[in-house]
Symmetry: C2
Subunit: 557 residues, 2 copies
C-alpha cells in the first residue's frame, strides 16, 4: 500500500473560508473526521470508506475475554460509533473489520502512573488495525477510529476517513478534579463525566471527596464520619458506589486518585469525636465551624493511619492526595486563639510559630504514609512546598498564580527542588465567564480561568530534568456552584481544551483558531452521543442538536 501523504491542514474541511459574525469563520467550517485531541502524528488518506452497521465488526484477537476490550466494543458498536440519530445504513457488500491487537495481557486493575497509552492505527478502505502495547492504548485508538467516522449528509451514510496514525500522550497525568463535598454528584453523573473524559483521552479522575461542607464518603471502619458529616443519608457514596465508580473508570482507562484533605477543610469530619480543635471568633466565642485538626490529640494520628489503611484498600491507585491547602485560613481561629493549642506549642518548644505546629502535623502524616501497608505516593497542594517541608516522596499540586507567568514560576521553583508537579492553576473551570474563555482573555486572573488552551505547563525556563518532573495537569471544577444539574455543560467542552493541551504535541497545537473546527466537530459528535457539550465559540450549530431523548433513539438501533 502506498504511504498516505495528505497534509495535516486538509483535515479542516476545504472550502473558501469567509468572515462571519463575532469576528470568526462561518459556523459550518468544522472539520470532518477530525481527531481531538490532535494525535502525535496523523496522515489522512484520500479516500473515505462507507460503513454498514451490519457489516462492521471488531476483532479482539486473543483478548476476546478481556472485560476492558469487551466493554469498549460494546460502547463503540452500540452507542458511540454511529451516534447521529439517523438510520444506520446496512447491507454493504463486504465486511469491515477493526482488528485490535494488544501485546500485554488483559489487566485486572486500573491503569497506573506511566502505563503505556500509545497506539498505532491504520484505517484503509479494506480494514482497520489498532495496535497497542496495552488495553489502555487500544481504548485510545478505538476512540480515534470513532472520530474518523462521520455522517455524510449527502449520501446519508456513515463513512470513515482513511488514515495512518501514531499516537501517544505528551503527559502521563491528564485529569479532571470533581468536588463532591460542596455539592453531591450522583454516581450516574460521575459516570457520564468518565465517558466524556475517555472521549477526550483523559486518564485521571481526581476525586476531592470530602471538604468542610460534607462527608459523602463511606468508611466501613468509621461510619460515624458519613452518618454525621454527610448532608443527608441520600448524599453518601456507599462502599459499593465507590467500587462501582473505580471499576467504571478502569473500563475507560481512567485512574481514580482520591483526595482526603488534611489538616484544614475538615469540618465535615466532626463525626470523629476529638478530631477538630475548638475555634474562636474575634470575641473569643466558639465559632461552631471548626475546620482544623487537633494535633495535640495523639489518637487522631492513630485514627488517620487506620482511616488511610482502609483508603488504600478501597482505592488501588498508587497516588493518594492528602490536600494540605489553606491551613493558614483557619490558624488564627482554631490554633492561635485556642489556649490549649498555645500551651501545647509552648510545651513543644514551638513558641507561637504555628508553622512549626503545621510541620509537626505534617511530619506525623508523612510517617503514617510511609508506614502504610500498601504503599502510596502522596500528593499535596502547593502550600506544603510554599510553607512547609514536603516529604521528598511527595508530588506537589500547583493551584495558585494570577498569570500564566506566575504559574510557570511556581512550576519552576518546585521542579528546581527535584519534586514532581501536577498543575491545576490554569484550569479552574468552576470560574465561569461570559465568552469563549477557553481561548480568549476575558479579564480576571489566569487562575480565574481564561485562555486555558494556551497554558503549557512546561513553558518555564528550566532544565530538561525539571520538565520531566511535570507530570501533567488536572482541570478542576470546584463544587460551590455545580451539581448534577449543570456540571456536564459547564465542564465541556472547556475541559476539552485542557485535554488537547495535555495530550497533543505543543508545536502542532499553538493556535486556538486552528483548533476550533476540530473542537466544534468534537462538540457536535459528543452532543450526538447524548452528552451536554455546550457552545463555547459564540453562535454555531450542530447537524443534530442535543436531544434529551437521544438515548431512546439510540436504543432503537
Amino acid at each position: 500500500m502506498q504511504p498516505l501523504i495528505l497534509l495535516l491542514h486538509l483535515l479542516i474541511f476545504v472550502s473558501i473560508s469567509h468572515a462571519w459574525f463575532y469576528g470568526r469563520d462561518a459556523p459550518d467550517r468544522w472539520s470532518v473526521g477530525g481527531v481531538w485531541p490532535l494525535p502525535h502524528k496523523i496522515v489522512y488518506g484520500s479516500k473515505n470508506k462507507t460503513l454498514y452497521h451490519d457489516k462492521i465488526g471488531i476483532d479482539l484477537g486473543g483478548k476476546k475475554n478481556c472485560d476492558v476490550l469487551l466493554n469498549m466494543a460494546d460502547n463503540y458498536m452500540n452507542k458511540w460509533m454511529f451516534p447521529f440519530p439517523v438510520e444506520v445504513p446496512t447491507g454493504g457488500s463486504d465486511d469491515y473489520i477493526i482488528t485490535v491487537s494488544v501485546k500485554e495481557d488483559c489487566p485486572t486493575g486500573p491503569p497506573i502512573h506511566g502505563s503505556s497509552e500509545e497506539y498505532f492505527l491504520r484505517v484503509s478502505v479494506g480494514e482497520a488495525v489498532i495496535t497497542a502495547q496495552t488495553v489502555w492504548g487500544a481504548l485510545r485508538g478505538m476512540e480515534t477510529f470513532s472520530q474518523l467516522v462521520f455522517y455524510d449528509e449527502k449520501s446519508k451514510e456513515y463513512k470513515v476517513r482513511t488514515a495512518e496514525i501514531v499516537d501517544r500522550p505528551r503527559f502521563p497525568v491528564r485529569g479532571i478534579m470533581i468536588d463532591t463535598s460542596r455539592h453531591f454528584l450522583s454516581v450516574k453523573v460521575i459516570k457520564r463525566q468518565l465517558d466524556i473524559m475517555a472521549m477526550n483521552k483523559l486518564n485521571v479522575l481526581h476525586w476531592h471527596l470530602v471538604d468542610s461542607e460534607s462527608f459523602p464518603y463511606t468508611s466501613a471502619r468509621f461510619p460515624e464520619l458519613h452518618t454525621v458529616g454527610a448532608y443527608s443519608p441520600r448524599h453518601v457514596y456507599s462502599r459499593k458506589d465507590v467500587a462501582d465508580i473505580i471499576n467504571y473508570a478502569r473500563l475507560h482507562g481512567i485512574r481514580v486518585i482520591p483526595e482526603f484533605d488534611l489538616p484544614g477543610h475538615t469540618s465535615a469530619w466532626r463525626g470523629k469525636k476529638g478530631f477538630l480543635t475548638e475555634c474562636f471568633d474575634e470575641h473569643g466565642e466558639l465559632t461552631n465551624l471548626p475546620n482544623l485538626i487537633d494535633p495535640m490529640n495523639e489518637n487522631n494520628f492513630a485514627f488517620i493511619a487506620e482511616f488511610l489503611e482502609e483508603v488504600t484498600q478501597t482505592f488501588s491507585d498508587p497516588f493518594l492526595h492528602l490536600g494540605g491547602d489553606e491551613v493558614s485560613d483557619y490558624i488564627v481561629e482554631c490554633w492561635e486563639r485556642n489556649q490549649k493549642i498555645q500551651k501545647f506549642m509552648r510545651e513543644k518548644g514551638m513558641g507561637n510559630n504555628t508553622v512549626l505546629l503545621e510541620n509537626y502535623f505534617f511530619e506525623k502524616l508523612f510517617k503514617i504514609v510511609k508506614e502504610l501497608k500498601i504503599k502510596r505516593k502522596p500528593i499535596f497542594w502547593q502550600e506544603l512546598f510554599d510553607n512547609n517541608n514536603p516529604d521528598p516522596n511527595s508530588i506537589i499540586h500547583i493551584w495558585k498564580g494570577n498569570s500564566h507567568e506566575e504559574i510557570y514560576e511556581y512550576i519552576h521553583n518546585v521542579t528546581a527542588q527535584n519534586l514532581p508537579v501536577i498543575v491545576s492553576s490554569c484550569w479552574y473551570l468552576n470560574y465561569i465567564k461570559y465568552g469563549a474563555d477557553w481561548r480568549d482573555e476575558i479579564g480576571g486572573t489566569a487562575k480565574s480561568n481564561s485562555r486555558y488552551y494556551y497554558c503549557d505547563p512546561t513553558n518555564f525556563n528550566g532544565t530538561d530534568a525539571q520538565k520531566q518532573l511535570v507530570l501533567g495537569g488536572i482541570a478542576a471544577i470546584w463544587g460551590e456552584l455545580v451539581d448534577n444539574t449543570n456540571i456536564e455543560a459547564r465542564l465541556w467542552p472547556r475541559a476539552s481544551a485542557v485535554a488537547e493541551r495535555l495530550w497533543s504535541p505543543a508545536e502542532k497545537t499553538q493556535r486556538a483558531e486552528d483548533a476550533w473546527p476540530r473542537m466544534h466537530e468534537l462538540r457536535c459528535r459528543l452532543v450526538s452521543r447524548g452528552y451536554r457539550i455546550q457552545p463555547n465559540n459564540n453562535p454555531d450549530y450542530c447537524p443534530f442538536e442535543f436531544d434529551e431523548d437521544l438515548k431512546n433513539v439510540r436504543n432503537e438501533f
Copy 2:
C-alpha cells in the same frame, strides 16, 4: 373557621440559625411550603394536612371541558404536585378536594395584556378552594397550592400547609426572552422553559426568532427566507411547531410575543432578494455580511407588510416586537459607504444625515403596522426613543444602562414622554458570572448582570402616571453561548429572582437574605419535578438531587 393569624416570617423554617460556610446560614434552613414568587398576601395556618394520592381530586365545577384547566389538573395531579421520587402515600380515610372556581368562560385564545391573574386560595384541613376571575388566575392559584405541598421526611408523607392567600401580580408583563437565531432551541426545550416559567408565574415568552445569524422561522408565504436563512433544514420551526409552542404557552397562561428585528440584524433575511443593502469594509470591498435593509427598494416595504400580515395570523398576541436596535452598528458599512444609498439620500434631501434615513424607514414601518388588518401594538428597543421618533402607539423596550441608576433614568425619560416601558437591562441573564449573581455585586455593569433581585423598574423619580406606564420586565437570555445543552440550568433559578421582583409586593421582598430559603425550596421542588435548576447560593443540597431519569420514576406513579 377562625382567621389564620400566623406571621409571614414563620414561613421560614423555625430553627436556631447558625452561621455556615460562605458567610451564610446553614444550607438546610430552607422554607417548608414556602411560595415563590411571594404572594401579595399569605397567612399560614398552624396545621398541616396529609395528602393521599388516591384520595385527592380537583373539582373544576362547571369548567370540566376547559382545556386549560384539564391540562392543569393533569400536570399537577400526575407530575408536579407529588414530585419527589418516593412512593406517594395512599389510603387515607377521607377525600381531599381542591375546588377550582373560575368566573369567566373558558377562553379559546391565550391570555392578553392585562388579563386578570388574581386568585384567592384557601387551604384548610378539610378542603382547598381556588377562586379566580379567569383560568389564568386559576393556574397561578394551582401552582401556589402545589408549593404549599411538601414531602415530610419524618412521616414519609406528602403534606400541605394550610393557608389563606390573596394574590395578584404587581406588573402585567413578566417575561423571558429567548433567542433562537444564534443557537437553535428545540421545541421540547422551549416547552420545558414554558413549564418552569409557569411555575414562576411568568406570563410572557418574548421570542426573538430571527437575527443576523439564522432564520429558523417558517413563513408560508416566503419560504425562501428559511430555506436560505436557516442554519440547516433541521434548524427550522415549522408552522406546526410555532402553533404548537403558542398553544403550549397558552395552556400555561403564557403569551407569546414574537420579535422580527428590523432594519438591522437582518443578514439572515438574505433569502429575500434585494432586501439588504450592499455593505463595504474600510477598503471599499464588499463585506459579504450585509446586515441592514435596503430602504431604497419600495418592494421591501410591500414585502414587510405582507410578511407581517402573515405574522399577525400566526401569533395572536396584540403586541408585536419589531426590534430597531443597533442600527448604528451597520450604518457606516451599509449606508455611508454605499454610493447608491448616498445618492438616494441626497435625492430625498437628507444630505448625509443617516438618522433621517432611519426615520424614513421607521415612518414607513409605522404606517405598515397601522394598516395591518389585525391590529398590533408595536414594541421597539430603546434606540427608537433615543435616536428616532417612535410612533406614539409604541412600547419602548429598555435594554441599555450600566447601573441600576442609569436604567432608572432611561425608564424615567421614556415614561416622561408618555410612552409605556418594558425593562430588560437589569436582567441580561446570558452574561454569566461566578457567584451568587442574583443578589451579589460581582463586578461589571448592571447590564452585565448582577444583583438582579434588587432592580426595581419603578424605582425612579417620577409621577404615579409615569409608574403606571412601566408594564414590567423581561429577562433576556441571548443565544450566543446558549443552546439545548445549557439553557435550562443557566436560566434557572436566576430568572426566578426576576419573577419574584415582577410579581411580588416590593415592600415584602427587599432582602435577598430573606428570600433565599424560599428560593432554595423552589430550586429543590423544581429539581424534583425533573428540571435542571442549578445551585446559585454556594454550597447546598436538595433532599432529592436532580436525576436525569426522574421522569421514569414519575411515570411509574
